[in-house]
């Protein structure tokens, strides 16, 4: 790809996301799509984090823990301390990042299914902690969270108070889409920089990486922190949309879904988690009219997709000849 086609391509995508889709929604009157797409954007941010841990060779089934944590940090700050949502958003991410350092240092030594397992347990630990901690309001959750307020700089309103909007849906849509674009631009940059190569070297052989002087422990933690940061951001925004957060807002099922999004999109492609989330989450919604057969149809389609494209949906476009199979036909 030349530089110009790249710029044109990026411009086109931005235009579709920021202008095209809202316009289409206005024309078609499908206002419910705002929320669905907002969810897709937020969930794909969290999935993007999981994807990054895949990129250093770790199967992460613990993103739900950080999404939950992010949601609570933001909710508590907004409700109990009156902090502006806009400030709590980065704080939630950073808080999750900080916690993930503490958790990551011991657990990142684990590999393969062991890491997967321990993160799965982490999700449950997070849920139980939110039930038990004194500050989280326990089983009753935190409800009635105010909508994000205005952001003003020198009297200039940069972002209006969401509560004053006649309809907060588009506002949340823009917020989530912008976050998603930033997140994936960052990931794309990361993966295509030398940092990405280092991550890949970790994925392929940690011993060798350390023998050529890569500080693998540090790099692993860095990737995990970024991942958890993204999880926290996604969770915090969700809390703002539903104006409530409960210990069950993000559970093991979510952690598993984040991971599945990455698989479905394709582990080898930065934008994989985005596409995977779109298909998995949106697909379920699309099938809602099939009633009791929804799960059956959904899972059948899913299995068919995996059988057809075991390396992720994006492998369709980029696929080279598949891995040579062992044995004769």
């Amino acid at each position: 790809m030349t530089r110009t086609t790249k710029i044109v391509g990026v411009g086109a995508v931005l235009a579709i996301l920021l202008v095209g889709i809202p316009a289409l929604i206005n024309i078609s009157g499908r206002w419910d799509l705002y929320y669905t797409l907002t969810s897709v954007a937020l969930l794909s941010i969290a999935s993007g984090g999981v994807w990054l841990t895949f990129y250093i060779g770790r199967i992460n089934i613990g993103q739900g823990a950080y999404a939950l944590m992010g949601g609570y940090v933001s909710a508590i700050l907004v409700v109990k301390y009156g902090v502006s949502f806009w400030l709590t958003l980065p704080i939630a991410g950073l808080f999750c990042g900080a916690v993930s350092v503490l958790i990551g240092i011991p657990i990142l030594r684990l590999r393969g299914v062991y890491f997967a397992m321990i993160t799965l347990v982490l999700t449950e630990v997070a849920r139980l902690s939110m039930l038990a901690l004194p500050i989280t309001n326990g089983a009753k959750g935190i409800t009635n969270i105010p909508l994000p307020g205005a952001v003003e700089v020198f009297g200039l309103t940069l972002i209006p108070d969401f509560a004053t909007l006649s309809n907060a849906k588009p506002a949340f849509y823009y917020l989530s889409i912008v976050l998603m674009i930033l997140c994936f631009a960052g990931l794309y940059r990361l993966v295509n920089s030398r940092l990405g190569k280092l991550c890949r070297s970790l994925q392929q052989n940690e011993e060798l990486a350390s023998s050529i002087g890569v500080n693998i422990a540090y790099l692993r933690v860095v990737a995990y922190v970024i991942s958890s940061f993204l999880g926290g951001i996604g969770g915090a925004t969700f809390a703002a949309i539903s104006q409530s957060v409960y210990p069950s807002s993000f559970t093991i099922a979510d952690s598993i879904n984040f991971m599945l999004n990455c698989f479905l999109g394709g582990l080898g492609y930065v934008f994989g988690p985005m596409l995977g989330t779109l298909v998995l989450y949106f697909g379920w919604d699309l099938l809602f009219q099939t009633g009791e057969f929804q799960l059956l149809i959904f899972s059948t389609v899913l299995i068919a997709l995996i059988l057809a494209l075991p390396n992720g949906l994006l492998s369709l476009r980029f696929s080279k000849a598949g891995k040579e199979s062992v044995g004769r036909e």
């Binding site: 321990i118 698989f263 899972s299 995996i306």
Partner: protein, 289 residues
């Protein structure tokens, strides 16, 4: 205390049996079978239908559950996992397939057997009561022993039968096993079927005690993962150890931490995390990268 230990042992026996099938499939094909719990549920429903509904003998029902599940497992391997394993770049991709299969089985089970909790008549009546120090209904004792018997039979089969040896070889080095004349496709299928069958047998055994419910597959799978990890993934003795440890941990933990109430499980899980970070390969697992 006697009660707590007996509870732990009984729980451990059933957990170990659940974990065995999962670890076998994992060892053979590096597939973390998210659908394991669903296979368990299916085994439970087959038993429920034949023993509970059609009122045929329990043994026949258990046998039918074993056969059905072996068949389902074999089909899953043949038509789903084999294809994906051959064509995927990263082996973990089968996790998505396993999850998809779990959804699929969930859907089928829900459609066929409904959303209600189901149970069957007791297989034996009466309660063993040692002066209220140890109370154990006879059916639990029977099921506990059947579970231990099944575990022993499986271990002996793996250790001393030709098929068992081939399965172990396959788990350790596929290519080398192939070069010894093991038909990899066939034995992968056998192994998968065996793993699924074990899940079905536990489901069938336990339906007499705890009944069965279309929705519990997912939670059961997750619990089974924990047992497998505690003991060490892909190691048969590890799965057994993991099952018993988790059983004991729950039983003893619930008793000892009783006064802490709400955070009992938080402490159990947190200690599990600490344990795994100290012993990254579980109790007896081979290192895994």
């Amino acid at each position: 205390m006697e009660q707590v230990l007996a509870n732990g042992l009984y729980l451990g026996a059933q957990y170990a049996l659940i974990a065995l099938g999962l670890t076998l499939i994992f060892a053979l094909m590096n597939v973390l079978n998210f659908a394991h719990g669903q296979l368990y549920v299916l085994g439970g429903f087959v038993t429920y239908t034949i023993y509970g509904q059609l009122e045929m003998p329990f043994v026949a029902a258990l046998f039918a559950a074993a056969v059905t599940l072996a068949l389902v497992g074999g089909l899953m391997e043949r038509f789903l996992f084999r294809t994906v394993l051959k064509r995927s770049v990263r082996e973990e991709s089968t996790m998505l397939l396993a999850a998809g299969t779990a959804f699929f089985l969930d859907a089928i089970i829900l459609l066929i057997f409904g959303e209600k909790q189901r149970g069957v008549p007791k297989i034996v009546d009466g309660v063993f009561n040692w002066d209220f120090r140890l109370i154990m209904p006879y059916d639990r004792i029977l099921i506990g022993f059947l579970a231990i018997f099944a575990i022993a039979a499986f271990v002996l089969y793996m250790q001393y039968s030709k098929t068992g040896r081939a399965l172990r070889a396959l788990a350790q080095d596929r290519v080398a096993a192939q070069l010894m004349g093991v038909n990899v496709d066939r034995y992968s299928m056998i192994g998968f079927a065996l793993g699924a069958m074990l899940a079905g047998v536990v489901g069938g055994l336990l339906v007499t005690i705890t009944g069965v419910n279309s929705g519990i597959g997912g939670p059961i799978s997750i619990k089974a993962f924990m047992m497998v990890m505690i003991g060490g993934a892909g190691v048969i003795s590890g799965a057994i150890a993991g099952g018993f440890i988790l059983g004991m941990l729950e039983s003893v933990g619930l008793s000892v931490l009783h006064s802490y109430g709400d955070i009992t499980y938080l402490m159990i899980f947190a200690s599990l995390m600490v344990f795994l970070s100290i012993r990254p390969q579980g109790l007896m697992g081979k290192p895994w990268g």
